[in-house]
């Protein structure tokens, strides 16, 4: 399987602050990779670099082999993005927001029925889909974003803290959706604080600290307790430092 997302010695500085330092990482088709780390570890910066929102200070962020910063539209064509807090237009309904996001992706127009089906597949029933987003919970807004991601047939998904603020049921629904997407060949890169969710979902987990990828592990080789202990050790070293 080829790499859909590839970071080659990817670095980003904000003035004197090294937000990301020489990241080497790849995510293949059908693979789920989770980035674990504290706030400011470089997870969101990595995602922003793949989206072309930021220009690397050095190295490359490649999407389907092409640098995202030089060909941002081509990169975004292949990507779907689910931010931590999905912001939608509160005056529009779920289905209207979905249709707008879908139209922006440049994909062929979807009718109302198909749109509702996709939202339903993402876990949002028809009644909810026809309500204004101002009444939505965080999980419901996330489902709109997931439905849009599904509809785009994107090659890769980028998710930033998607489980933050979700109740366990909604988080489980999200996990199921991600597994389903990976099973259909989507490469998934997810930044998270949720160690246990990461272990359940990811094929590889990258632990990030101070902008560096300090360890890349196969979660199947560790149980929950061991993974937690490993993560905490890394974080403790950070505090001691």
């Amino acid at each position: 399987m080829g790499a859909v997302l590839e970071a080659r010695e990817l670095s980003k500085n904000f003035g004197p602050v090294e937000a990301l330092s020489k990241l080497d990482l790849s995510v293949a088709e059908g693979e789920i990779v989770c980035l674990l780390g504290a706030n400011g570890a470089g997870k969101t910066t990595t995602i922003n670099l793949f989206l072309g929102f930021l220009t690397p200070s050095s190295g490359e962020a490649l999407v389907l082999g092409a640098p995202a910063c030089r060909a941002p539209r081509a990169a975004r064509n292949a990507l779907a993005y689910v931010p931590e807090d999905v912001a939608l237009y509160p005056q529009l309904t779920g289905v209207e927001n979905f249709q707008f996001l879908h139209a922006l992706s440049g994909q062929p127009k979807l009718g109302r029925t198909d749109s509702l089906l996709l939202l339903q597949a993402a876990g949002l029933d028809e009644r909810a889909a026809n309500r204004r987003v101002s009444s939505y919970s965080k999980g419901m807004r996330q489902k709109v974003a997931l439905a849009a991601a599904f509809a785009r047939s994107a090659k890769a998904w980028l998710l930033d803290e998607p489980t933050s603020g979700l109740d366990p049921h909604a988080a489980n629904e999200l996990s199921a959706a991600l597994r389903h997407a990976a099973a259909s060949g989507v490469a998934i890169l997810m930044a998270t604080h949720d160690i246990f969710r990461a272990r359940d979902l990811a094929m590889r987990i990258g632990i990030m600290k101070h902008g560096r990828l300090v360890q890349l592990i196969d979660p199947k080789t560790l149980d929950h307790a061991a993974l937690e202990a490993l993560y905490v050790d890394h974080m403790r070293e950070e505090k001691a430092a």
């Binding site: 922003n48 989206l51 929102f53 930021l54 539209r73 081509a74 975004r76 064509n77 990507l79 779907a80 993005y81 931010p83 807090d85 999905v86 912001a87 939608l88 237009y89 005056q91 529009l92 209207e96 707008f100 996001l101 139209a103 922006l104 992706s105 440049g106 974003a145 785009r152 980028l158």
Partner: protein, 448 residues
């Protein structure tokens, strides 16, 4: 993509209380502006027509022999059909004079100064006012956050994580939101122009709408540009409103105060006193002046009643003396007002509000230039008519009806009205540069 963004934005706006309030406010302002200006322009035109009719009626009733002093002509600045769009100086400057042998330059235009002082001070609520003052505010309300609010609320992340170009989003929204204001304004202008009693000259209507379009396009360019800056939507709103206040109020206020202080016109009270002194001196010296005059013009021996001839000649002597005394002060007035105007013209390059105000009034035929040209032409007509009547008047010779009918009639030479729209071209160039710069910046918008 473009159409999609416009459709979605239209849907958004249709559910946005602020946008609906903006549209309602605009429509109310347009309806009121058209009604109000139509009423005022109509009353003004009716008054001028009534006076013209009275003068011509009296001329029609003349019986032979016709005394030269009985011949009167109206000099009227024809009301422009487009005055309903911009009232300009309609109720401020004189638009009519009854010209006769007795007309005196300083008293040619009198007794017209009774328009409501409150209405004059507040200013007309016409389409010009809506375009120049109100429309930009409404455009700011609609457009200040058209992309910035998406950035503030992080929606821009979701939108830009797609292949859609931020420039396309900005352009589509700009076009739609500007149209919400521009289309009703133009519709109101065209409707108002066609409601006028006379067919509007299409060239002038095109100039008026073109000037309004340049002005509103400039504002939309500025608003679009503000949306490419890395600021919060409320900061952009504050900045745009500050620009509005500076362009609409501060620069014009400082300009007029400075111009009046640097180039104050001569004292009107002093002029009145000087002319009255000249008139009194003229009355005193009329007998000597008359002797000198008759010595120079022996051909004007009295052919009719000698007393009447003497009286007319005295009258003419006094008039000439007063008008001679008026020459220098009139020139000083003209110089002072031209100097003030030069400052105002410079200021038009600092604020598009002044440029648009002049351009719209000039296109509507109610600007300073046309009124000034009318006064000059009316004064020249007076000189012509009096020249024609002088021989007969000073020799008390009677005229026939044919002579009376053949006497000159005033016709305004509109081609002599100067139009200088250089400041509007300047602002058109600024608008174009603004759009170009915005397009360049828009392609680099990031949600971070």
């Amino acid at each position: 993509m473009f159409a999609t963004i416009i459709r979605q934005d239209l849907r958004l706006l249709s559910r946005d209380g602020l946008a609906l309030a903006v549209l309602a406010a605009l429509l109310a302002a347009l309806v009121f502006a058209v009604m109000s200006a139509r009423e005022i322009a109509g009353a003004h035109a009716a008054g001028l027509a009534q006076e013209e009719a009275r003068i011509w009626q009296r001329q029609a009733e003349l019986e032979e022999p016709v005394g030269p002093t009985q011949i009167r002509r109206p000099a009227t600045l024809e009301p422009s059909p487009l005055s309903v769009l911009s009232l300009g100086r309609t109720r401020l400057d004189p638009a009519q004079a009854e010209v006769s042998f007795f007309s005196r330059l300083d008293l040619m235009f009198r007794d017209y100064q009774i328009a409501s002082p409150f209405a004059l001070r507040a200013g007309a609520f016409d389409l010009s006012f809506v375009v120049i003052v109100i429309a930009p505010l409404l455009m700011i309300a609609l457009g200040a956050g058209m992309v910035l609010s998406d950035r503030d609320s992080a929606r821009l992340r979701m939108m830009m994580a797609s292949p859609a170009s931020p420039a396309t989003i900005l352009l589509a929204r700009s076009l739609l939101r500007a149209s919400i204001v521009v289309v009703p304004v133009f519709a109101a202008a065209i409707i108002a122009a066609h409601l006028s009693d006379r067919a509007p000259p299409l060239a002038d209507l095109a100039l008026w709408t073109g000037g309004a379009l340049i002005y509103l396009a400039l504002w939309q360019g500025l608003i679009a540009f503000a949306n490419t800056l890395r600021v919060r939507a409320d900061a952009a709103s504050v900045g745009l409103i500050a620009v509005w206040a500076i362009w609409i109020f501060l620069i014009p206020a400082v300009t007029s105060a400075t111009a009046a202080a640097l180039h104050p016109p001569p004292s009107r009270a002093g002029l009145v006193a000087d002319l009255r002194a000249a008139e009194a001196r003229g009355r005193e010296s009329a007998p000597e002046d008359l002797i000198r005059f008759m010595h120079d013009h022996p051909e004007l021996q009295a052919q009719g009643d000698a007393d009447i001839a003497d009286w007319m000649r005295s009258n003419a002597m006094i008039r000439m003396r007063v008008e001679a005394a008026l020459r220098d002060p009139a020139q000083e007035f003209e110089t002072a007002l031209q100097s003030q105007d030069a400052i105002a013209r410079l200021a038009e390059f600092a604020t598009p509000a002044l440029a648009a105000n002049r351009a719209l009034a000039d296109a509507a035929g109610t600007g300073e230039a046309r009124h000034r040209a009318f006064r000059r032409q009316a004064q020249a007509f007076k000189a012509d008519l009096q020249g024609m009547l002088t021989d007969a008047a000073l020799s008390a010779r009677s005229l026939t009806r044919a002579d009376a009918d053949a006497a000159a009639r005033f016709a305004m030479d509109e081609s002599a009205v100067p139009r200088n729209a250089s400041s509007m071209w300047f602002w058109l160039a600024i608008a174009a540069l603004l759009f170009a710069w915005t397009a360049r910046r828009a392609s680099r918008i990031t949600p971070i």
